[in-house]
């Protein structure tokens, strides 16, 4: 059994390029300018803020697909510069979710595995903030066990026919495309064979999008049913049967970003203001504990961004960031309620920006943090594999 050592759990702190700090100032100025706009309201969760208008304005600044080649509408900036933009947006609670999935994982996936025609057709539209993506992984009978997906793509003359259903699909009702993981062949011994990814137009005939209202009463995710959906040959992404390898590379982007610990940062920020300039000893310790952990998580997440930039596959490191980050997000909420006397819920005569209202929404969103992007249990199993235990 290989020995766990510090060497397979390293998070060397990268140095941000000077350009990144200039960019940070630019993003802050943009956000300050936007603060009065209709589309802009700080969110209780980064996934709650869907604003095509805000996304288009970001695109106009060149901040969507910013690491991609210029010929696909990108700006050829580094991953660390992109990180700087995303962390500033998240810390401000900006409504980023419309373009988020496309920018974070669908675009990079197409860039890496897609055909030239797919890249040319799709990437410039993502980068201009006109084309939004959904993730097509989970199914009614496949949650954590992604290899068990049953949505089937069969070869037909000139293309593929898709039958099955995806679930927990955020914003399928307003997005343009889904990248769906489908079964195209036998799973084989390791269960990872016979899977392929397809680019599916969510407006296509035979695609039914059924709302699933979440426990906050909001319609954010959906069930997406494919009934004899016939798509052309060129909608296969990458190689037939390469779906598992492709999807796992996509997940490293999904798991290590700043949204895994900053998604409810505005609660932390509001808590600091609620407590005021003269905290008691208990409040000071609680604020400090969140501060020291956030500072550490940010350094770890930045380190993973640098590993991705260097072409490494930091799956285990990303899982560690997500596990620690999700615990931090939960502790933000739990700390807030523990150190001040507050009843979460709308106050009579209050508004949605009041601390009790913000906290109420944050309490209700907590359960999703340790589920989305892979559950805590899956993260710990990935870490255990990294330690040589599995």
């Amino acid at each position: 059994m290989p020995q766990a050592s510090a060497d397979n759990l390293r998070f060397p702190p990268p140095v941000l390029p000077e350009a990144a700090e200039d960019l940070r100032a630019e993003v802050r100025a943009f956000l300050a300018d936007s603060a009065g706009e209709e589309a802009w309201r700080p969110n209780s969760d980064f996934g709650a803020g869907f604003s095509p208008e805000f996304s288009r304005r970001l695109a106009a600044k060149g901040w969507i697909g910013m690491t991609w080649p210029k010929k696909y509408g990108g700006a050829e900036r580094s991953n660390l510069e992109r990180y700087t933009v995303t962390e500033e947006l998240l810390a401000a609670g900006a409504p980023v979710f419309a373009h988020w999935i496309a920018d974070r994982q669908s675009g990079p996936l197409l860039l890496r595995f897609g055909s030239e025609a797919q890249r040319t057709a799709i990437l410039p539209r993502i980068a201009s903030g006109e084309c939004f993506f959904s993730i097509g992984m989970s199914e009614p009978d496949s949650g954590s066990d992604l290899a068990s997906v049953r949505t089937r793509a069969e070869r037909v003359a000139g293309g593929w026919r898709i039958n099955g259903a995806k679930v927990w699909t955020s914003n399928a009702h307003v997005n343009h495309f889904m990248i769906a993981l489908c079964r195209t062949g036998e799973a084989g011994e390791d269960r990872h064979g016979g899977l392929s990814q397809f680019l599916i137009d969510l407006k296509h005939d035979g695609v039914a999008i059924n709302p699933i209202v979440n426990m906050l009463g909001a319609h954010e995710f959906n069930e997406v049913v494919f009934d004899e959906v016939e798509i052309p040959e060129d909608r296969l992404i990458g190689g037939e049967g390469d779906g598992w390898r492709q999807v796992t590379s996509e997940l490293a982007y999904e798991r290590s970003g700043a949204e895994r610990f900053l998604s409810n940062f505005h609660i932390f920020r509001a808590l600091v203001d609620e407590i005021g300039a003269t905290p008691d000893a208990h409040q000071a310790a609680a604020l400090g504990r969140l501060t020291s952990r956030l500072w550490t998580l940010r350094s770890m997440s930045l380190s993973v961004a640098a590993m991705l930039e260097a072409g490494e596959s930091p799956d285990v490191e990303a899982a560690i960031v997500k596990d620690l980050g999700n615990r931090f997000e939960r502790d933000v909420v739990e700390t807030a309620r523990a150190v001040i006397d507050v009843q979460p819920g709308a106050m009579a005569g209050g508004n949605a920006a009041d601390f009790p209202s913000l906290l109420a929404e944050a309490v209700l969103r907590q359960p999703s943090f340790t589920l989305r992007g892979g559950t805590t249990e899956i993260m710990r199993s990935i870490i255990a594999r990294g330690l040589g235990l599995r």
Binding site: F11, A285, T291, S299, M300
Partner: protein, 329 residues
């Protein structure tokens, strides 16, 4: 980590692996000074490691082996003396960061509590409060009254009464707060090393120990314990490395707070996975877990540093929080 630090890490690991033997630890437990270990460390020049990256690197490796010597204390004493323009004596030293009184003639008075390794060293670098403000004095332990005490890991933590002692020499321009912060950072480095050690011991043990017909590492409950242990270890190490890369109060405070919090969580998991054998005197695990439980308190535990950090954040207000987290400290 750059190449020089990598080389330092490897040579320190070799030295400690060779010399920190069970036999040496038994002699230290009986009250002996491990002169052969100290002499080797001095010959390698580790006790003169430059602050902060080199010092923290060699201290982290010492922590990995629970090396029973005042290595961070000597490094800090030398760095402070040098910084103050004072000559640095040979041999192991220790530090006193809580100010002691000094008069115009250089006479010291007062008692410092829980001074690391005082009984075994010849010199102490002492922060003093005098009429001229904070000064750094070099004191000889031979002139002090030393009362033996120890920490949880049985490392000497002695009370030192300076009454009647005179500074060998002294100079101004020093800061008690800075020494305290740096001492905390080097304890965080020792903790990081000890965490790395208990992680690898625990993973190895889980792979060897068989129950219900298979290694306990094959049980998901145990795997998840180890994943959490790895997370704590990774966080403490990452905080340390980040603090070395971008030094400042926030970084130092966060590094010690994260390390101290991780220490308790990690030690509990390491013992849980080791079962009863890890609770025996014979097994090596307690060397490292006792060190973790001791070091997490020294030079400020997580509550101390978090309180100070939290007070600073509260003073900044919500709008200042994020710029402080990402900004230059």
């Amino acid at each position: 980590m750059n190449e020089e630090l990598e080389i330092l890490s490897h040579s320190a690991a070799r030295l400690f692996a060779d010399l920190v033997t069970p036999e040496l630890l038994r002699r230290v437990d009986a009250g002996e000074w491990p002169h052969e270990l100290w002499d080797a460390v001095a010959a390698a020049g580790f006790e003169g490691a430059e602050m902060t990256a080199f010092a923290a690197t060699v201290t982290r490796i010492a922590g990995r082996f629970a090396a029973p010597i005042p290595l961070p204390e000597t490094i800090l004493a030398a760095a402070m003396l040098e910084g103050a323009g004072l000559s640095v004596p040979a041999g192991a030293m220790t530090i006193v960061a809580e100010p002691i009184a000094i008069d115009a003639a250089g006479s010291l008075s007062g008692t410092a509590r829980r001074v690391p390794w005082a009984r075994h060293v010849a010199h102490i670098a002492v922060i003093c409060d005098g009429t001229e403000g904070a000064t750094l004095a070099l004191a000889e332990t031979a002139r002090c009254q030393i009362t033996a005490g120890q920490n949880l890991a049985a490392e000497p933590r002695d009370d030192v009464c300076f009454d009647g002692a005179t500074a060998v020499h002294s100079a101004g321009g020093v800061s008690s707060a800075l020494l305290h912060e740096q001492a905390a950072l080097l304890r965080a480095a020792q903790i990081a090393g000890a965490l790395e050690k208990i992680l690898s011991m625990t993973v190895q043990y889980a792979g060897e120990r068989r129950q219900f017909g298979r290694p306990i590492a094959k049980f998901q409950a145990v795997q998840h314990h180890l994943a959490v242990l790895a997370g704590h270890t990774a966080a403490a190490c990452a905080a340390l490395e980040a603090a070395l890369a971008s030094p400042g109060f926030l970084a130092n405070a966060a590094a010690k707070a994260c390390a101290s919090e991780a220490a308790g969580e990690a030690a509990a998991i390491a013992h849980q996975v080791h079962g009863a054998i890890g609770f025996t005197a014979e097994h090596a695990l307690h060397r490292h877990t006792k060190a973790l439980w001791a070091w997490r308190e020294e030079y400020g535990n997580e509550t101390y540093w978090n309180r100070r950090l939290g007070a600073e954040m509260a003073a900044l207000g919500g709008a200042g929080l994020w710029p402080k987290i990402v900004g230059p400290d």
